[in-house]
Amino acid sequence: MTDVNLIINEQIEKYGRERQALMPILQKIVADKNYITEDELALVAEALDLSAADVYGTATFYTFLDVVPRGKYVIRVCKTISCHMSGKDEIIKTLEKTLGIKLGETTPDRKFTLLQANCMGWCHKGPVMLINDEVYPELTPEKAIAIVQEYIAK
């Protein structure tokens, strides 16, 4: 819990004890801890003098502000048209097999979460996936396995 307070204070120092500090706080919590718990949302609400419901409502509006348990590495495979046409289904199938989980699930060791996401701006180099903030364009099933193996070894 203490480190969340640290994040809150850091961001408030930077952006002020104002509503506009909310996104940076939530983004930093997700970056550092993979997702935001309900208790943490309540702490943020208290620090900014907002209702917990308001903070929850804001967090859940945004796809990248995860409020359910996520793995250390969140894999997001682009599902939109160009990546669909260039074979994202096969990439997802390959990742499901390599990680032993279905789309939307997290591995039991909490290391990987596998998700789909909408267009990420690599339509000329699909299929593409994000692992946290890193981009991996022009995927083939073999390439996807090799990339994930690197993360498994980390």
Partner: protein
């Protein structure tokens, strides 16, 4: 502009190490009104897709009497098929910052925000470093203006200007009612000029070369050039800067794979042009406008799958605030699925088209309003593919 062939241009990515200094020094000696006149004269229209004249936007923002005003750079590029802003931010970010500084000087703003989509977070560290250097340069040159970068969090709707403001303010990215327009009450309810990444680079380019050179290119309604993001069934996918005013036929001649049956101009929210209309359609504001997304489909593709993909996208990305969009997107999707399965008669497509038209006039923002573009153009031109 010779509309029967494409014409490549090199302004946005032009390698010019002195550009930033030249433009900033030139602008500093100019009267803000003259800068705005130059922008109006150039005919530059917003390159994010909506196409509002940039000079007028600056003029309206300048005319507001407020101590606080803002320049916002919309770097929340999310339209399916568009990736040009990423490339611009990656390769020539200083030209974007310069455009923001020019806008700030012209309208009398002291603060600029760049709102970068979360999918481009991999660019963030580099951009923060460059913006710090740039802010220092501005200070050294005597500009009372500085830029801060804020991140999005995976919501397509935040590319809508008022939703973007809400997001920076720490709220759900739900579009506001208009009016008031951003030039009157934008970010933090202050007069705001919000411009797309590419628009700001063109502002920089126009300040260097002057409106005349820009105006020479393009057509009466679509001046200048534009960066296109080209994807789909093409051997030459990628980023191209082209003069505006070419026909879709000229475009397909250059970028098609010889079997192009349709081009989706302007992304998921744009218009689908079928082969039989390639010769008649001009790519520009007088024909089919685009924020840059050009997706080519050849005859191996099912246009039902294309439309279904778009509708799934909109159903997911609708903010849910207004009923026409929230319910409409889902019903259009369910509707074409039902027709495909034979649960509904093909004539049901007419009812769905009416629904799309209703969304166009009743949805609160551009997202819900523009779903009719792909829906009606695909259903009308590829009806048999939707039904069978």
């Amino acid at each position: 502009m010779e509309k029967n062939r494409i014409s490549k241009v090199d302004l946005i990515f032009e390698n010019d190490g002195t550009l930033v200094n030249t433009v900033l020094d030139k602008v500093k000696k100019m009267n803000p009104d003259d800068i705005i006149m130059e922008m109006i004269d150039s005919g530059l229209k917003g390159r994010g897709g909506a196409g509002f004249p940039t000079g007028l936007k600056w003029k309206f923002t300048k005319a507001e009497n407020s101590y606080d005003k803002y320049v916002v750079c919309n770097a929340d590029e999310g339209e399916p098929g568009t990736f040009k802003d990423r490339e611009i931010l990656d390769r020539v970010p200083e030209k974007v910052f310069t455009g923001m500084a020019v806008a700030g000087y012209a309208i009398g703003a002291r603060k600029g925000y760049m709102y970068l989509r979360a999918e481009y977070n991999f660019l963030l560290k580099g951009l923060i470093k460059k913006v710090e250097e740039f802010n220092k340069l501005l200070k050294d040159k005597g500009f009372d203006f500085n830029i801060e970068i804020r991140s999005g969090a995976g919501a397509y709707i935040c590319g809508e200007e008022s939703a973007l403001f809400e997001s920076i303010e720490g709220k759900r990215g739900e579009p506001r009612n208009k009016p008031p327009y951003p030039t009157v009450a934008g970010l933090f309810n202050k007069p705001t000029s919000i411009n797309n990444v590419e628009t700001l680079v063109y502002a920089t380019v126009i300040m260097k070369y002057g409106a005349e050179k820009f105006k020479e290119m393009g057509t009466k309604d679509s001046r200048g050039s534009k960066v296109f993001s080209i994807s789909g069934d093409t051997p030459n996918a990628g980023i191209y800067e082209l003069e505006l005013g070419m026909t879709v036929a000229a475009f397909v001649d250059e970028f098609g794979d010889g079997d192009t049956k349709a081009v989706q101009v302007g992304g998921a929210s744009g218009i689908c042009v079928p082969r039989k209309k390639f010769n008649d359609m001009i790519i520009g504001y007088e024909g089919v406008p685009t924020g840059g997304s050009m997706m080519l489909f050849n005859s191996s593709r099912s246009m039902y799958n294309v439309l279904k993909d778009y509708l799934e996208f909109f159903a997911e990305e609708s903010c849910g605030q207004c009923t026409p969009c929230r319910v409409g997107c889902q019903q259009l999707l369910r509707g074409i699925e039902a027709v495909k399965k034979g649960e509904k008669d093909p004539s049901y497509l007419e009812t769905l088209k009416k629904l799309a038209q209703t969304m166009k006039i009743s949805a609160k923002c551009g997202l819900g309003q523009s779903v009719a573009n792909p829906f009606i153009s695909i259903v009308d031109n590829f009806r048999e593919e939707i039904i069978y």
